[in-house]
């Protein structure tokens, strides 16, 4: 069984088909490359895999099953939403002022003990006088609207990027997206979020669990920064990093969640030859940590040098796949892409 199976993914935007029926399998421990000319649909394919887009057709299976929220999750929250809608509708339909006047204002005398039982009884009597349909029908209607909202939200929330990231697919972006005002360590710590357990109250009250978690997460974040060679700048703002280093920080941030698969979108873009060599080395070391790497890349030396397997896209269609040697020998792939290489 493959680690990641892409099955017949099609991505349409209006009349434009950006990705057309693409299927491939990625095995555990591979370095897997997606190549193709500009506009071939590579980044769109990445976005469909990581949940940024919902594929028009097709599915992505990770460890044999689709990544999505199971129906039993967060049942309480959804019940609460339905209840709030129902309650609000009933509240709006019943005359609150009337109930307040009859129940509280009429029974309360300054400095006298307040007859809670009588007040509740009076309010209840007043509520009974309201025609049944006025209170209960809106509540049922409200519950219906609430349930509809929940179902709609549920459908949309099943394959969001955060769920997919938590399942173990981490990514970087073509146009580097760091948290520029945060320090390097903080960037990595955000990436580590899915492995943290401390909640709002733990953080606010600084319970013992908070310090324990802070100790190991900060240690691990520094280790990751050392792994990509940025340890000495750990407390600088990410926005102050030179371009080449930003790519490395993005990789460290993505690795922080201990992903099974790392998707790199053009990691070598804009790098000079010596930086590319360092990057190849880094990607190999990532693979050696047991992370499967999928990369989009234009830099042929890098792709041919480190990939175990390559797929070629053109106009959204998959036109060939195989080992680097096989791709080099494939006429169609050469015509589509390799032959026209020159901008590097």
């Amino acid at each position: 069984m493959s680690l990641l199976e892409v099955r017949g993914i099609t991505m349409r935007f209006g009349g434009l088909t950006a990705v057309d029926d693409v299927s491939f399998n990625v095995n555990q421990g591979q370095i897997f490359a997606v190549i193709g000319p500009n506009g071939a649909g590579k980044t769109t394919l990445f976005n469909a895999i990581t949940g940024v887009y919902e594929p028009t057709e097709g599915s992505v299976r990770f460890r044999g099953s689709p990544v999505r929220l199971e129906p039993d999750a967060r049942l309480g929250l959804r019940a609460a939403i339905v209840a709030i809608f129902a309650g609000l509708s009933a509240f709006l339909a019943i005359n609150i002022q009337e109930l307040w006047t009859v129940g509280i204002a009429a029974n309360y005398v300054l400095d006298q003990p307040f007859p809670w039982g009588k007040a509740a009884g009076d309010a209840l009597d007043a509520a009974r006088a309201v025609p049944f349909a006025w209170g209960v029908l809106p509540a049922i209607l409200g519950a219906g609207v609430g349930a509809g909202t929940v179902v709609a939200l549920w459908q949309r929330s099943r394959r969001t990027p955060d769920l997919i990231a938590r399942a173990g697919l981490a990514r970087t972006f073509q146009n580097i997206r760091l948290f520029t005002d945060l320090s390097l360590v903080e960037n990595v710590l955000v990436g580590m979020d899915s492995r943290m357990r401390s909640g709002f109250w733990t953080n606010l009250l600084r319970l013992p669990a908070f310090s324990r978690e802070r100790t190991w997460t900060e240690r691990e974040a520094l280790e990751l920064l050392a792994f990509v060679g940025l340890a000495e700048r750990a407390h600088e703002a990410a926005g102050s990093l030179p371009y080449g280093h930003r790519r490395r920080l993005e990789i460290a941030r993505a690795l922080a969640s201990k992903p099974a698969v790392l998707l790199l979108d053009e990691p070598a873009a804009g790098m000079n030859p010596s930086e590319v060599v360092e990057l190849m080395e880094l990607i190999r070391r990532v693979r050696d940590r047991g992370v499967t790497v999928i990369l989009i890349e234009h830099h042929m030396k890098l792709v041919m040098g480190i990939s175990d397997r390559i797929v070629v896209l053109q106009y959204g269609k998959l036109i060939g796949q195989g080992t680097p040697a096989e791709i080099r020998a494939d006429r169609r792939c050469i015509e589509a892409y390799l032959g026209t290489e020159g901008e590097g």
Partner: protein, 335 residues
């Protein structure tokens, strides 16, 4: 615990000592009590807008919800009368729940749309408070409200120094709470959404839940500010005291102080509220006394200069210090 940065420590040291040199000037205490109330509201808005990047133009509504919750639960015109301290706790809780309720259906909206919804929420809240007369007493407001007690000792309304320190104490607690959250997993999640919402989500941060928690935290702080404001006056005042202008003032505090900066928010509140209710009032008094200007002419009246100078100062700050007076990274301590 890591220490508070120097600007915040200096602020609290100066503020705590200030009344010792001020004698019993009413204007001074009025101004600073307002400054501390708006510091709380500003700190709340700083969580929502400064940290999380969600533009909220309805902060006054949460102040109003806080003030009225506190008033209904504590005033002796109603049977609940749970007392000052329980009232404050209940207010914080109700404020947080109100934030959740507004946030649940709306936080999927982005940028300007959310701003419009929060603005509408502010207006609706005012209308409800005005018209639900049996409960809120309409434009009269609810009064009287109880005074805080410490054991058997009660802080009376005219003990202005006591109120000053009490409010300063609340501001200190709020600062500690906000700073603790900021420098934890919760706060980093907020900041990451502000910095880059898509990247944040792709790192596994659930956007909606994270935004809701920010919204609830901010609303709770604003509600606390509102409750203290009401306690200070022993009345909620009329609903119009929580109008759109108040929301804008809160926003100005955060922008002038420096978006996302706790120290900046404190400074922003001193500058904005202080200028409004201390400096410009004095200036107008002085001009009036010196016979400068002409009170019968709209443009030449010293009382109207106030607004002119206020606007001018605001433009100057935004022009000369676009990141605010104390931008977040100058606050000290990156991680």
């Amino acid at each position: 615990m890591r220490r508070l940065p120097v600007p915040i420590l200096a602020y609290f040291a100066v503020m705590a000592a200030l009344p010792l040199f001020m004698g019993a000037s009413g204007l001074f205490y009025d101004a600073f009590q307002a400054i501390f109330v708006f510091s709380l509201v500003g700190l709340g808005l700083n969580v929502v807008t400064g940290f999380t990047g969600l533009l909220n133009l309805g902060m006054a509504a949460f102040m109003a919800i806080g003030a009225y919750t506190f008033a209904i639960l504590t005033s002796d015109i109603y049977p609940f009368q749970i007392g000052f301290w329980w009232g404050i706790l209940a207010t914080i809780a109700v404020g947080a729940v109100a934030g959740f309720l507004l946030g649940a259906p709306t936080l999927g909206l982005s940028g300007d749309y959310l701003a419009i919804v929060t603005m509408g929420f502010g207006e609706i809240t005012l209308d409800v408070l005005k018209n639900l007369e049996a409960v809120t007493k309409g434009t009269q407001g609810i009064n009287p409200l109880p005074r805080p007690t410490f054991g058997s000792w009660t802080l009376e309304l005219q003990q202005e120094r006591g109120w000053y320190w009490l409010l300063l104490g609340f501001v200190l607690l709020a600062v500690l709470a906000v700073r603790r959250l900021e420098r934890s997993r919760s706060g980093r999640a907020w900041l990451s959404i502000r910095e880059d919402a898509l990247a944040s989500q792709c790192m596994g941060i659930p956007p909606k839940r994270t935004k809701m928690i920010a919204f609830a935290t901010g609303s709770a702080l604003a509600a606390l500010g509102g409750a203290l404001f009401a306690a200070l006056l022993s009345s909620t005042g009329e609903p119009a005291s929580y109008d759109f202008q108040v929301s804008i003032l809160a926003l100005c505090i955060v922008i002038v102080g420096g978006m996302g900066s706790v120290a900046g928010t404190l400074v922003g509140a001193v500058v904005m509220v202080g200028m409004n209710s201390l400096v410009l009032v004095k200036l107008a008094d002085w001009a009036g006394a010196a016979g400068v200007g002409n009170a019968s002419n709209v443009l030449a009246s010293p009382n109207n200069w106030k607004y002119l100078i206020f606007g001018l100062a605001l433009i100057l700050v935004v022009r000369l210090k676009p990141d605010g007076l104390l931008p977040p990274r100058l606050e000290g301590g990156a991680s």
